[in-house]
Subunit: 184 residues, 2 copies
DNA sequence: GTCTATAAAATGATAGAC
DNA sequence: GTCTATCATTTTATAGAC
């Protein structure tokens, strides 16, 4: 029972353009042209451009954690898992040509859009919570307590990603990983 | 010898709008209206909208370090200075309504624009260098070497700012400061 | 240097045929 | 559900009067 190949093509194309060249720089015209669908077909599947944005964020959020958990599956030790999150993000940085975190980008571009800020929050809090669970299980040097160590890992990661988008490289995410290795 | 009150008004208004609502969402029309100047006056002082963007970045960069150095002047101890940079940025977060780092925002919005990426790089490398000089002078616990400690402080700061824009608060920048206090 | 008027293109969205 | 044709706005930028 195929939902609609057209709808998929619209969301795929829009997602790619929203991330690569920005939400506000991407026009409806470009989406329908590159997706090879008719103007009204877009509006049949999505009420407005802003609904496309929310669908893009929802799908990105879902896939992000699916891919993370897939990537971490081979590891059992919490220390290894924590460090592997950095590898996951470094690999993603390369794959995405160092354009940075989807949720950081959209916050900078369209945080006033209805529903955006809440979705960004949910995404980042889930990552922080994920790190927190691993920190609780890891035997670390206790240079910092569990809560502070959680924030340290989370913030080094987010900082590395943001700076990586400015420098267009993974240098700082790699540096962040080495720092965490020393603190654990 | 007043350069031009009009030119100042244009750049003031454009800068405010570029940061508050975004570069791509700010039209020439809105700038000329809010600055109360004529359309052609803008193009008399700036060749194009993109030149306004570069002027905005240059002025923001210059003022940023002037204000930082002014803020740090009362402190002499390198440890105090390092921690005060966090206070400087926390105060700025509040003043700017948690909209995040100017240079992170513009990277997300318009990093392809001629001259933007280079200006962002210069700004961030200068901050990193500033932190590095202080780290070299501070007597710290040597949990990390000087280079890693520099990156730690820099990345915790950048992470705190980026996350602060998503959460619309200073919680993580304050957390970053406490972490650095523990690591120094 | 500042102004008004206007151009040419792109924007998001809708109507109505098939 | 998909299509083409079209709408009203808004976009960046220029011409030419004063």
């Amino acid at each position: 029972m195929r939902e609609s190949a057209v709808k998929d093509r619209i969301l795929d194309t829009a997602s790619r353009l929203f991330y690569d060249q920005g939400y506000n720089l991407t026009g409806i015209n470009q989406i329908i042209e590159e997706a090879s669908i008719a103007r009204a077909s877009l509006y049949n599947h999505f009420e407005a451009k802003s609904d496309l944005l929310l669908a893009y964020l929802d799908r990105t959020h879902q896939r992000w954690f699916e891919e993370l958990e897939e990537f971490l599956r081979p590891f059992t030790d919490p220390r290894e898992k924590l460090l592997a999150i950095f590898d996951f993000r470094i690999r993603r940085q390369q794959k995405l040509k160092y354009r940075g975190c989807h949720f950081n980008k959209i916050t900078a571009e369209a945080c006033e859009e209805e529903g955006v800020a809440q979705r960004v929050l949910v995404h980042k809090e889930r990552l922080r919570g994920y790190i927190h669970q691993l920190v609780l299980r890891v035997k670390h040097r206790r240079l910092l307590d569990d809560d502070m160590l959680t924030d340290t890992i989370f913030l080094l990661m987010e900082g590395g990603l943001a700076v990586g988008a400015m420098y267009r490289n993974s240098k700082d995410t790699k540096s962040a990983k080495r720092i965490v290795e020393n603190l654990l």
